[in-house]
């Protein structure tokens, strides 16, 4: 089968990529565009390591066929913040030393950033459910909760 042209917006940049009809959005981002921040931990939507924002909503990019993204807005971890200009969630993760092996972290950060976008002052339970689709094997989640709670304060402060 011939490759198809996928035109969409990635991290605010108009982007074109040649993709196979069976490529997932995750494949397209990682293998065709070179954005390897989103990770493949399972390929079946169970672990959340591939979480990106699709028109602002967090999705498992391994469950989306790449061509479904045509004309849409996708944001990956690479487009959330830079090492010298971190998103409040990222800054709080660094400060609290959340990351251990780090493999789940891009997905967790994207899920948390989307949660705070929708709900700037989440309760502890809302945070727990907000990242419940993201499996982490290293941290036990406690420091993630601390960091996201702190980032919620910072984000809300930034807004007002």
């Amino acid at each position: 089968m011939a490759k198809q042209v996928l035109s969409f917006t990635v991290n605010d940049e108009p982007t074109e990529a040649l993709v196979q009809p069976w490529d997932t959005l995750l494949d397209a981002l990682r293998e065709r565009i070179g954005l390897t921040g989103p990770k493949e931990g399972c390929g079946t939507g169970d672990c959340g390591a591939c979480t990106v924002h699709f028109d602002g909503k967090p999705i498992a990019s391994c469950l989306v066929v790449a061509m479904q993204a045509r004309g849409h807005n996708v944001r990956t971890i690479e487009g959330l913040g830079k090492p010298d200009a971190l998103h409040p969630v990222q800054a709080a993760f660094v400060k609290h030393g959340v990351a251990q092996c780090g493999f789940c972290i891009p997905g967790v950060v994207m899920a948390a950033a989307a949660l705070l976008e929708e709900n700037p002052r989440p309760t502890e339970e809302e945070i727990r459910y907000g990242i419940a689709g993201n499996l982490c094997r290293c941290t036990g989640y406690t420091k993630m909760l601390t960091a996201i709670t702190e980032a919620a304060g910072a984000s809300a402060g930034r807004r007002s």
């Binding site: 990682r30 789940c104 982490c136 094997r137 036990g140």
Partner: protein
């Protein structure tokens, strides 16, 4: 170890929660794992795996697969001359030769331009199997006449036990017997157990069962292999020990070690599952056959079906005590199901069963049994959680039956420094009693009666406590510390930083040399350039590499001071390093900067030697590390659902070099322990095929299942540890299964001895009782 670590210098860098320097890269997705590498000309590998747990391979036809456009190589065992029958490890069994011994075993390998083409090629390979009888259950597999797993005459693999370096003095032996699937046996005995039981007033017998569980690292196994035209192989690996990977691959492929360079990439979790080689040899063979870089990344399904999980452990346990609480005897039979290849750490089970609490008479037998399942590997404190689940559950029941306080009962009998372990070694200094005492003082333990009485809405409430630990691993290691021409320090080791050990080592280097932490850069080198460094495993990275770093930094410091002494015409003993300068004590304006000393070591025509400290110590003294855990739970007796309300971890870390990183270890380890307790099991059908090969069905705990994990750091210095530190990684995975089982009994009156403590199991037990 030859040297007792002491430092007279400022230790202000030690004990601070300094964020790790790679934190920003980790939270922005910049850190590179193997699967993120995409060199020019990259090919993608896929493996055809057996659907049968035990079958003869009658015929393999790869002609259609080879003809598919985009396929660059299709290999079977016949293409790999190094392959031999009687493979001692899974790494050696690169592809099945004429018989498959577990479902998921690779039988053919493909390299292609795209992953999808490689997958299509797998479908075109025609394998004709003759299905054979299966040994699916270890208790059946132990019996004479069971379907054989290994080829007759295959040697048992005890290298994992050595890798963990934990148990001396226990002889495990490969015993040929009529029971062909018993690959190792061990026995520890002292006193007269029959007499001990005869004199006991209370005797309790139980069989404990813990299923195979997966380490669950989020990054599946991955490797990238490339050869150069001179026959040198480079492997970009996700490994817990690059030197170990190099040795295993060299052994399997019959290559000199110096022809292989292993570059350890960021490791997305290992927990013992990425010590042994797995997919590295076949990927290297594919790269050789195609003369292209080849990348292999396992799928999650492959990880669960054909990774290297923890063994199933079945422990038959009998303990006896007198009415006054005196322990009399313990008799145990521990069966470790190792899957298709030998490699269990058999002795750990025996030593923990018979040594944590002191029984005057014991007889502990251990058996490693092979079955037609994927072979096992280490999983964070291998066999300790399973063993402690048994012995701690037993101690709790003994205390109940004797009518004594369960914490006091444990404290009365728990080992202390100098007590004799079951293998006759003395226990070394450890904080077992201290961590348990700390939790016994916790309000959640003190108010357990109130919590139980507060149950409402038909739910039941309970509290449980447990104590477990790890003996502490050892391995030779190395580090170098260099002074750069600008006065900064360059530290190099070969240890793989999975969990944040590099920041702790940088803190150690800064303190031991005498500079600020921001002047230290620490690098994990590849196997061509780094000093030989052991595995990141066995809770020994900071404990052993930390000592190498201290020694290397002290050597570099001594060189620095000697150079400064000449320049300043002062005695070395009067010199101090302060604010990037060597100064003469009491003469503040007399000094020389570290930068100028560094520059002199790298100047044309200079006669000053460069400052380089190198250390490569071997060790003989372990540092046992203990952890106690406390659970407050609620149980729904109708559904069997357990809700965790509080969970507290108290752990002896010797000296907390970086408390935030240590808390992360304690919390993460505790949640793995809770997963083993509550939800995790690899489930096999009677044909030894995995029935839950996805993360939906292999249920790990999520943030929504858990409370915050409270941590209490206890510091009882390890006499030989860097600044007194002990290993911290493994102890927290040990106690939770027993703590939860004890809490469930407190809440419901039901004692459960099989993991996981699933809602179904709990509800059925409650229903059976009432």
């Amino acid at each position: 170890m030859s040297t007792v670590m002491k430092t007279t210098r400022d230790v202000k860098g030690i004990g601070l929660s300094i964020p790790r320097p790679d934190g920003p890269d980790k939270v922005t997705g910049q850190v590179q794992y193997v699967a993120d590498l995409n060199p020019r000309g990259l090919l993608h590998a896929k493996l055809l795996r057996s659907p049968h747990a035990h079958a003869k391979i009658v015929r393999i036809d790869v002609s259609k697969a080879k003809a598919l456009p985009g396929v660059r190589a299709v290999l079977t065992a016949a293409d790999i001359p190094q392959l031999k029958k009687k493979a001692p490890t899974r790494a050696h069994a690169v592809l099945a030769i004429d018989r498959v011994v577990f479902a998921g075993q690779p039988v053919a390998a493909v390299a292609a331009d795209e992953p999808a083409i490689a997958e299509e090629a797998l479908d075109l390979i025609d394998v004709q199997y003759e299905v054979l009888p299966v040994a699916a259950d270890p208790l059946e597999s132990m019996k004479p006449g069971a379907p054989p797993v290994a080829e007759l005459g295959t040697e048992a693999d005890t290298s994992e036990a050595q890798a963990h370096g934990s148990i001396a003095g226990v002889s495990t032996e490969a015993k040929p017997s009529k029971a062909v699937n018993i690959s190792q046996q061990a026995r520890l005995q002292r006193g007269d157990v029959a007499k001990g039981f005869a004199e006991s007033d209370v005797v309790i017998e139980n069989t404990y069962r813990v299923p195979m569980v997966h380490q669950g690292y989020m990054e599946p196994h991955a490797v990238l292999a490339q050869w150069d035209s001179s026959g040198n192989l480079t492997l970009w690996a996700s490994t817990q020990g690059s030197f170990n990977t190099r040795s295993e691959v060299a052994d399997v492929l019959e290559l000199p070690e110096n022809r292989i360079k292993v570059i350890p990439m960021e490791c997305g979790g290992g927990f013992g599952g990425k010590i042994r080689a797995l997919c590295e040899p076949i990927t290297a063979v594919l790269a050789k056959a195609t003369n292209r870089p080849v990348r292999y990344v396992m799928t999650r399904k492959e990880e669960l079906e054909a990774g290297m999980p923890a063994p199933q452990v079945i422990i038959k346990l009998k303990t006896g005590a007198k009415r006054d609480g005196t322990l009399m005897a313990i008799e145990a039979e521990a069966i470790l199901e190792s899957g298709a290849y030998s490699g269990a750490v058999l002795a750990v089970a025996g030593v923990f069963l018979a040594s944590l609490y002191l029984f005057p008479n014991f007889d502990v037998k251990g058996f490693e049994v092979l079955t037609h399942k994927p072979s096992i590997a280490a999983y964070r404190a291998p066999v300790a959680p399973q063993t402690i689940f048994a012995i701690d559950s037993q101690m709790e029941q003994m205390a109940k039956k004797l009518g004594v306080d369960p914490v006091e009962f444990r404290l009365r009998h728990v080992q202390h420094e100098g007590d004799k372990m079951a293998n006759n070694q003395p226990w070394l200094s450890n904080g077992a009693a201290e961590v348990l005492t700390r939790l016994a003082e916790h309000p959640i333990w003190k108010k357990r009666a109130e919590w139980k009485a507060s149950a409402k809405d038909g739910k039941l409430r309970g509290t449980g406590i447990s104590l477990g630990g790890w003996l502490g691993g050892l391995q030779p290691t190395g580090a170098t510390v260099r002074l750069n021409p600008d006065g900064t320090l360059q530290v190099m080791t070969g240890q793989v930083d999975i969990a944040g050990t590099n920041i702790a080592l940088a803190q150690i280097a800064a303190t031991a040399y005498g500079v600020d932490i921001d002047k230290v850069k620490i690098t994990t080198g590849d196997t061509d350039v780094a000093p030989v460094t052991g595995l990141s495993a066995g809770s020994k990275t900071t404990y052993t590499v930390g000592v190498a770093v201290i020694q290397a930094a002290e050597i570099a410091r001594k060189q620095t001071l000697e150079i400064a002494a000449k320049e300043l015409e002062a005695s070395v003993h009067d010199l101090e390093i302060e604010d990037g300068k060597v100064v003469v004590r009491g003469v503040p304006d007399k000094g020389i900067t570290l930068a100028s000393i560094g520059k002199k070591g790298n100047l044309y025509m200079s006669k000053v030697e460069p400052v380089i400290g190198a250390s490569h110590p071997a060790f003989s003294v372990q540092a046992p590390a203990f952890c106690a855990q406390l659970a407050r739970i609620e149980v729904d007796p109708d559904t069997g659902e357990v809700t965790l309300h509080n969970f507290v971890v108290a752990q002896d870390v010797g000296k907390a070099i970086n408390p935030a990183q240590i808390e992360g270890q304690m919390q993460g380890g505790a949640v793995q322990s809770l997963g083993m307790a509550l939800t995790e099991a690899l489930m096999y059908d009677d044909k030894a095929r995995l029935t839950n090969p996805s993360l939906l069905d292999y249920r790990k705990l999520t943030s929504a299942d858990l409370p915050n994990i409270e941590t209490i750091i206890v510091e009882k210095p390890a006499p030989h540890g860097p600044f007194g530190a002990r290993g911290v990684g493994e102890p927290p995975i040990v106690p939770a299964p027993a703590a939860i089982a004890n809490a469930i009994e407190d809440a419901t009156g039901v004692r459960l001895t099989h993991l996981p403590l699933s809602p179904e199991r709990i509800a059925l037990a409650i229903a059976a009782k009432s």
